[in-house]
Subunit: 408 residues, 2 copies
């Protein structure tokens, strides 16, 4: 047990947005405003950047109506940031926390964010300022360790499942090869969701390429050709993170070969820019055109729509995102942990249900979780076990319908 | 008045899919199955291609349940085609129609499709086979003449409005320059819909580039820089069809300058391939990066999602698409016209309402309708008049919400 603390609470939002990230923000406010130990309910503008700049919003003064409208609005309402604070940054943050009597810090984000929460808590302790620091999980990538799944994933997966349902109908209607690039740099969780609206082997995506497998361009072309010969068309789901046996992104290899002018930007966590460009899809489409000749080949890159489209939210995802925000406050006040990451555990039973628990930050920070082998099927598909896992997270998906097709 | 005819009816679907194109198919079936003059209710597989290949579906034998499920399914359930039949093709089509006693032909599509319906009707007449040929309007581009708007547009516009709402929040959350490429080769109707969820000048898109204006790269860069200096970020909506003063697509000019390997495919109507690639967005992003230096610049190309996403359909669009299918059958049976295109006329009054009427095919075929000057505002925005026109077509759009933002 830790000493019960009393003081102000701060929440920040970090990393790529999701459509339910503000549900967690509102869950935090709901729980914090009624806690005696919380003297002020604050939000930091643009995550740790706002703490460093002493830019805080008094969330305790937001109306119920505004909070509910914000909860339904995609992307960090407080503003987000991609920033790994240095030791000096953290020391300055602790100064700000001390001056404002902040004893509770909640940081909403992915594994990089969990790491930041971890560093802040331990540094504050060393500097003699006791705090509770909790990571509130959020990522469309679904690649956090320990937790069953991540808030934000269900809605992004729902969008991707619907996108492939529609695009598969489009491709049936005007047959050809269609390549759709899905977000997910290291793990194929979101790309795998492309299959959630499929009814049979005739439905696309017919091929699914995830970063958990080595991407072999020759095998890819052979597979596309084979599906095309069988169905007269082929829909392909490709993760933006496909790479060779050495882990080198396919797009980088291709760009070097073509002498292309790819920007190759990196963020402050050292990650290569694979989002916000159509280059990978276009490169794959060109390969297929070169290989198959006079066939209609198109590529789309779903891009930021996957994480920000406001009109297709998973209800279960929204509810769980709200709940992890509330659970983080309860965990911080309980005195049972100085720090932790809120995780979800799936309960046994016929109907889907999850409960929250606290995982050590060190188990969640930095590392990511790939699709396990049992969720993959061969070189370019996912398994029924993945479907069983993911379907409850996305909400109901209406099946597409064919004509009974009685020939005249 | 034309001679009343009796015989089989055929419907075909042509061109790019929409999410409500099957509503029109089902409207046709509903009306045709109860008409005494219609002996069989048929559908042609892949439009005129199916007629030429004598591939018909007996739509009169589809169950009510299947029809309703198909109506909610995006993209041509009969299959589509991009094909301009030659004089020989049309002669062969008339042979098939004569052999199958087809007296009513309905063709769902855009202006190319209206032209085909026109040719079939006049050729059949010359060949001594009297028929009624009606064009059923369908295009996300909204660029058909005569009609107030086109079925398919409302849902695509709804998707685009939502997409920009979400992407603007994403950009607020992680500020930078974001360029989103919207479909619409010749006309900016869909790109203009990017503005329908905006609440104020601070909301994106801050700049809207449509093909009705000459695209000047220098002016574009100056405008982006100006918005960026004012708001610290900039969201841009760009039509895929932006071009220079001579009408040459910007992407083509750029590709020539860069010595790029753009495919430059053309369909059988002679249109350059501007969809199904991320090249335009990437080119514009590169220009902005070169101009502004160390600024976060991203581009997304919304692609086929705009015409096929199944989970965000405009209710009014779905109902109107159903109605134009029904109206086409009524018009064909009325004996008032040998041919025509079903059009929508907006009624006066406080609440939005439309009625259908029959326009001559020659008024609709080939030509397209640009955004009128009163719907544009300066060089890179649309007017409130456009908003008044378009809002009733997309259904309700929930506003995005900001925190009240009381500083702490």
């Amino acid at each position: 047990m830790e000493t019960p603390l009393r003081g102000a609470a701060v929440i920040g939002q970090s990393g790529g947005p999701t459509v339910v990230i503000n549900q967690s923000l509102v869950g935090y406010v709901e729980e914090a405003v009624q806690a005696d130990a919380v003297t002020r309910v604050l939000g930091a503008r643009h995550g740790v950047r706002g703490v460093l700049d002493d830019r805080f919003v008094d969330l305790g003064r937001e109306s119920r109506e505004t909070l509910e409208a914000v909860a339904r609005t995609p992307a960090a309402a407080l503003g987000s940031v991609r920033m790994k604070p240095t030791a000096e940054d953290v020391a300055r943050m602790v100064e700000v926390f001390r001056r404002r009597d902040v004893r509770f810090f909640f940081y909403v984000g992915g594994n990089d964010t969990a790491e930041t929460a971890h560093i802040v808590e331990s540094q504050a302790r060393e500097l003699g300022w006791e705090m509770r620091c909790f990571h509130v999980p959020k990522t469309i990538d679904n690649d956090l360790r320990v937790t069953d799944h991540c808030p934000g994933y269900g809605s992004a997966a729902r969008f991707v499942a619907h996108a492939f349902q529609g695009d598969d109908r489009d491709n049936r209607s005007l047959p050809g090869i269609k390549i759709d690039v899905v977000m997910g740099r290291h793990a194929g969780w979101l790309t795998a969701a492309s299959t959630l609206g499929r009814r049979s082997v005739e439905d696309g995506p017919h091929l699914v390429y995830v970063p958990e497998r080595v991407f072999d361009p020759e095998a890819f072309l052979a597979a596309v050709e084979s599906v095309y010969r069988e169905f007269g068309r082929c829909v392909v789901a490709v993760s933006e993170g496909i790479h060779d046996a050495e882990g080198k992104p396919f797009l980088q290899t291709y760009a070097e070969r073509m002498g292309s002018v790819l920007a190759g930007q990196r963020d402050s966590h050292g990650n290569v820019q694979l989002s916000g460009t159509g280059a990978l899809g276009d490169a794959l489409a060109r390969l297929v055109k070169e290989h198959l000749g006079d066939v209609r080949v198109r590529a789309d890159t779903f891009g930021y729509l996957q994480r920000s489209f406001p009109a297709d939210v998973s209800p279960v995802d929204a509810a769980e995102a709200r709940e992890v925000g509330r659970a983080a406050v309860r965990a911080a006040l309980s005195g049972e942990h100085a720090s932790g990451s809120i995780a979800l555990r799936r309960l046994e039973g016929p109907a889907y249900a999850c409960e929250t628990f606290v995982a050590p930050l060190s188990d969640v920070a930095r590392v990511t979780k790939d699709l396990p082998e049992e969720f993959l099927d061969g070189e370019h598909d996912v398994s029924p076990a993945f479907r069983d896992y993911a379907l409850p997270l996305v909400g109901e998906i209406t099946p597409m319908a064919d004509l009974e097709d009685v020939p005249a």
